[in-house]
């Protein structure tokens, strides 16, 4: 196993270098650079813009820029943000942490809802409940997250109007934007925790819905396969109860692909929850990434891509190792 891991790690090096070259090349194909918009300012002299470009090394040939960037990368330096003139790591660390909060809660919500729903659908195949789970799952899959977030925001505003008319309660039951309340800093640590959870619930739920459909349907199929297999029939023949058969004998092997896939969640943890973060003003990595893209803050973009690539490679390795751990049929030589 140890030799296998070392071998895999060495194989990752050329993959990583290839990926960085591709990223850098694509980033250079975009017309213009960070200072382009400055050229449209009527009172900024062209020589000033040239000086700024030179300061960030943008006047050098592309291959020189790439080599310099890789040299920095080798010592763990992701470069400097043009926008904030601070190290890229400093610029992205906090948004990554915020995205991670969102990802963890949404994964918990996803598992909490999908596992019972998948099991129920398999056990009560073609029942009304099974059909309902399927319809809801597909709706979740078909509705883009950013749109669902907007629908929920609208629903929250409408709910406020109703609660005001009916109960005189003119407050939103969940926040429509942000991560904390304005009085967050004056709260106790416990209340701060709940404040973040309160802000996080809707965006997490939205993110979770898109995964629920796939998760539920695959688990249902896995469960149906195992519930019809010989060892389950044997267990039932020996008098094992329905609950035990379902949750111990069938669910455990059925869930193996999901456990093995945990490693793949690594890049998702810091990769951001997509446009939900933008719509709900969650200070995560997606808005940071989009802002960096729009302003061509190229080292921030590349820094994020590098981290995601590294985590993706590490995640794949972890997934393979986990698979061996949970599935006795797989062994590494």
């Amino acid at each position: 196993m140890f030799v296998y891991i070392i071998k895999r790690l060495f194989q990752l090096i050329p993959t990583f270098i290839g990926a960085t070259m591709l990223m850098f090349l694509i980033s250079q194909l975009v017309p213009g650079d960070f200072f382009k918009a400055k050229e449209l300012e009527p009172n900024v002299r062209p020589e000033t813009i040239q000086r700024m470009r030179a300061e960030f090394g943008l006047d050098k040939p592309v291959y020189v820029q790439y080599v310099n960037w890789m040299k920095n990368l080798a010592v763990g330096n992701l470069g400097q943000s043009f926008v904030s003139n601070q190290p890229v790591w400093q610029r992205i660390a906090r948004p990554m942490r915020n995205s991670m909060y969102l990802a963890i809660l949404s994964i918990i919500l996803l598992w909490l809802v999908s596992i019972p729903a998948g099991v129920y659908s398999a056990v009560r195949q073609y029942s009304f409940g099974d059909q309902a789970v399927s319809v809801i799952s597909y709706l979740g899959l078909a509705t883009p997250n950013f749109f669902l977030a907007q629908v929920i925001i609208l629903a929250l505003f409408l709910t406020r109007t109703l609660t005001k008319d009916w109960f005189g309660f003119n407050q939103l039951i969940f926040p429509v934007a942000g991560m904390t309340s304005s009085n967050y800093l004056s709260m106790s640590p416990w209340n701060q925790f709940w404040d973040v959870m309160w802000h996080m619930f809707i965006p997490s739920l939205v993110v979770a819905t898109s995964g629920m459909a796939g998760f539920t349907r695959v688990l249902r199929a896995q469960m149906i396969e195992y519930l019809g297999s010989d060892f389950i029939r044997t267990a039932r023949a020996k008098g094992v109860g329905h609950t035990k058969v379902t949750y111990k004998h069938a669910l455990r092997p059925a869930i193996i692909p999901f456990v093995a896939g945990i490693g793949n969640l690594l890049p998702a943890l810091v990769g951001g929850a997509g446009l939900v973060e933008v719509v709900m003003s969650w200070p995560g990595i997606t808005p940071t990434f989009l802002t960096a893209l729009q302003s061509q803050d190229i080292y921030v973009v590349l820094g994020l891509l590098v981290i995601t690539t590294l985590l993706l490679m590490a995640g794949n390795l972890i997934s393979d190792l986990l698979l061996a751990a949970v599935d006795p049929r797989i062994r590494y030589n």
Partner: protein, 584 residues
């Protein structure tokens, strides 16, 4: 020794007694000091995190940076919303020499930084020193130059500064309106570590509570991606009072929630989490009015208050050596005048801006009405007149496709590019293109990447890679609203002709008028010169101006003390922060 100390104390007391506070005029607010309520919080939104807290290296322009680094700081001179006259603010007095080459400033006594230390002439002088050091790369660097000649500052005595201008300049006073930089922090860093040490100061990782400012409110909390909280500067009220002598500001707290984008900011506003929002268009106003009618929020909505400080225009490329026919067409004034006659500004205002826009005929934005020459040739929408002008340059018959052709059978055809994603510009281009095709001029509208568009526009030489571009510029000055990089030939934003020389006599004339006007200190005389620039440009018609959209405002009904009617616009702002208060 004791006597000496007593004497020094008495002298200090006497000095502070002579230190006159700045009295904020009643005419800058729609409320009187008697109505003001002390305390409370004004909550606004920011689109993104501040990029730095360093006042020397900041290059951004948003609510926080504008407030901290310029508008809200103890600038030497200041202008209110009611007049273009400059008043001493951080200065106790200032005088300009007869020839306009020097301005002498005496720094006000009694001003303090937010840590209680005195603000001195050295703090202002330091701003000049740091901004003119090219190694620091300050965004203010270019403002210290007139062409290639530098404006210089010297210290005079303990609290005097003298600004030297290479020639008389209408833009001199905005240069004098510098904000101080704390010498104890930035000066010390500069003296010990040079430019690099200054650049390393006060990034977004700084503990903002440790930074010092001259403003009414100073940042005390910064939660990246979430909010910035500014609290009242306890020393500001010592030298800033209202007309009744009350210390300013009235509010305790000024906070900014980082919304990410304007859609989220609107949601926050509708949720009652912020007190102010600038609606982008009439759709936003409709949503806000709906919430008001439902009784969900209690806010004031001010629709189409003033034009914005920006323009939308079409410019043709005069440097197209690789296509002599097109170059000749684009250089022909009657062609451009014909195109002006198919610019249907009323349709654009109705269809693109839902009626919230003003037609624009000159390079001066309508918001700067004082400087706008309303008598220039306007070339109103008139397809028949356009056809006549096209006929006058040889395009007097149509081919089977309905396109105008000349004697050689060549069509009048060009590509009009604009930046993809800017829906207003895409719509304007489409409306213009349709109208031009009606008279037989083939306009192919292309939406391309913004950077590519700018690259094409700013390309130089005799052969540039575009036909026509629809784009806009922003900015604007109340002193001389003509761009130094726009009007004179051979400057980088002289967009229609970036060869190294003027092609027409009108270009030469406009360049000369620009220089004379900028050096004319008498405002009315300068305006007359500005009028001549606009009239000359309208005659040449190198740039076809379209419309200027309107600005809208909305804020909590509890907010009071904002500008009087007619004094709210993107150049003047909506209020003076020390004078606003929240009614309970």
């Amino acid at each position: 020794m004791k006597r000496l100390l007593t004497l020094i104390s008495l002298m200090a007391l006497a000095a502070s007694a002579f230190a006159q506070p700045f009295v904020w005029p009643d005419s800058w607010s729609n409320a009187t000091p008697g109505e003001a309520v002390r305390g409370g919080e004004l909550r606004i939104s920011l689109i993104g995190d501040p990029r730095t807290f360093n006042p020397v290296t900041s290059a951004e322009s948003q609510a926080l940076s504008d407030y901290l680094f310029t508008n809200g700081a103890a600038v030497l001179i200041i202008r209110g919303p009611d007049s273009d006259e400059w008043l001493p603010y951080g200065a106790s007095s200032f005088t300009a020499s007869e020839d306009g080459m020097t301005v002498d400033v005496t720094v006000r006594d009694g001003m303090k930084w937010s840590d209680g230390s005195p603000i001195t002439a050295q703090d202002y002088y330091l701003r000049y020193v740091l901004e003119t050091d090219p190694d620091i790369g300050s965004n203010g660097y270019d403002s210290w130059f007139m062409g290639d000649d530098q404006i210089t500052v010297e210290k005079v005595g303990d609290n005097g500064l003298r600004f030297h201008f290479p020639r008389p300049d209408r833009l001199a006073f905005p240069v004098v309106a510098v904000a101080p930089v704390p010498d104890a922090v930035f000066g010390a860093a500069y003296r010990s570590g040079g430019a690099e040490a200054v650049k390393a100061l006060w990034g977004t990782d700084v503990d903002v509570a440790s930074t010092i400012w001259s403003n009414a409110f100073v940042p005390t909390v910064f939660q990246p991606g979430e909010r910035i909280i500014l609290q009242r500067n306890p020393y500001f009220g010592e030298w800033n009072v209202d007309s009744a002598g009350n210390a300013l500001p009235y509010l305790d707290t000024y906070s900014m929630t980082i919304a990410g984008d304007l859609d989220s900011a609107l949601n926050l506003y509708l949720a009652g989490d912020i007190d102010q929002f600038s609606p982008r268009n009439l759709d936003d106003i409709g949503v806000i009015n709906n919430a008001v009618n439902n009784g969900d929020i209690d806010v004031t909505v001010m629709e189409s208050v003033s034009p914005v400080a920006s323009s939308q225009f079409i410019v043709w490329n005069w440097n197209k050596a690789s296509d002599p026919d097109k170059q000749a067409l684009f250089r022909n004034a009657n062609f451009r005048r014909a195109m002006a006659h198919v610019m249907d500004r009323d349709a654009i205002i109705d269809l693109v801006y839902n009626g919230a826009g003003l037609p624009m005929y000159t390079n001066v934005y309508p918001i700067n009405d004082y400087w706008v020459n309303h008598d220039v040739e306007k070339y109103p929408y008139d397809p028949e007149k356009a056809s006549e002008l096209m006929a006058s340059i040889g395009y007097d018959r149509k081919n089977a496709d309905g396109l105008l052709i000349n004697a050689e059978g060549k069509t009048a055809s060009f590509i009009l590019a604009t930046n993809a994603g800017n829906t207003a510009r895409e719509q304007i281009a489409a409306i213009f293109g349709d109208a031009a095709r009606e008279i037989g001029v083939d306009v192919q509208v292309q939406a391309i990447d913004f950077n590519l568009l700018v690259d094409q526009l700013l390309s130089e030489g005799e052969d540039r890679p575009f036909d026509a571009i629809l784009i806009g510029l922003t900015g604007g000055s109340r002193d001389w609203p003509f761009g130094v990089n726009v009007i004179p030939c051979a400057t980088n934003l002289h967009m229609y002709n970036t060869s190294d020389a003027c092609i027409t006599a009108q270009e030469t004339l406009m360049g000369q008028l620009f220089n004379v006007g900028r050096e004319t200190l008498d405002t009315e005389a300068a305006r007359d010169i500005g009028y001549e620039i606009q009239a000359t440009e309208a005659d040449l018609m190198p740039i076809l101006y379209a419309v200027s959209p309107m600005a809208h405002y909305s804020w909590s009904a509890s907010l009071h003390g904002y500008h009087n009617e007619g004094q709210i616009n993107p150049l003047l702002g909506a209020y003076e922060l020390p004078l606003v208060f929240m009614a309970r």
